[in-house]
Symmetry: C2
Subunit: 170 residues, 2 copies
């Protein structure tokens, strides 16, 4: 009954990959994989009194130097108070520089310092190593499918953010 739509065949193409059981597998795969995805950076950050939120902020400041607090807010999808706490510690610790905007003095433009860049490299190297190993293991076709599904799972708003970041880097 719940699998009514999946047990049908449309245009000669099997829909067995849409059963509740298949979807449940995908859900659990996301859960376990995300743990692996964050495990390496988490290990590096623990003991530095930093967490995942700091990692995310550093990642996106690295990708878009000079971005404003508001822009970062939209990308990260958290409240500005939450982000502010993270940014404050990063600025205090000399990993991020916050410059008052020239055109609009309300805005703060964010940049990684040398120390910030070093930590970003350490974190992303670890994360990329795992991704690279996974990619290499399964091959380019599987990777293409992986990205297609992830993109389709996003909210439209996030999808827009995701594609904007891709465009900004060519």
């Amino acid at each position: 009954m719940a699998d009514a739509s999946a047990s049908q065949v449309l245009g000669g193409e099997s829909l067995l990959y849409l059963t509740d059981e298949q979807l449940r597998q995908g859900i659990e795969a996301m859960f376990f994989a995300y743990r692996g995805f964050t495990a390496d950076p988490d290990r590096i950050l623990q003991g530095l009194s930093y967490g995942r939120a700091h990692h995310r902020a550093i990642h996106f400041i690295h990708c878009a130097p000079g971005t404003t607090v508001n822009n970062l807010l939209n990308i990260l999808g958290v409240t500005k108070q939450s982000l502010n706490r993270v940014l404050r510690t990063l600025v205090e610790d000399g990993l991020v520089e916050s410059r008052v905007g020239r055109a609009d003095k309300r805005e703060r433009h964010l940049y990684l310092t040398e120390a910030g860049d070093a930590l970003e490299k350490q974190l992303s190297d670890a994360q990329r190593a795992r991704m690279r190993a996974a990619y290499r293991q399964v091959g380019p076709e599987a990777v293409a499918g992986f990205k297609q599904v992830l993109e389709a799972m996003m909210d439209p708003e996030m999808q827009r953010q995701y594609q904007k970041l891709r465009e900004n880097r060519g």
Copy 2:
């Protein structure tokens, strides 16, 4: 330089999908997609004074009724104090039943009550709807690749847990 391994060609097969930029895209896709992945259950749970931790517990108790606290601990990868806080509220609220083991009276076997099953259904229906839409949009080959990459990203320990859950359901 960082892309040295990716800019080579091995056995005539392009490795361009292993560049740092491609990996970075995958990392960001995981980030945004996970937000979408948890968005619907989070929406349902907010206001019930429950959170993601409760959802995870309910999910795995549903999948493996009668599981013990210790087993759940291994699957979820959290401390027993953390899980206990969540389980206690679920038992108090009548969503989960905790039965003393017959063979080993130290163990507690966990079951969803009718109310617990109802909430599980509500949560997983929402999450599966999003997954089903994504799957349908991209087709079975992409879904196969998606699962391959996710599995390759897991820690070996998690991969074992994941496969065990699959086997238990055929």
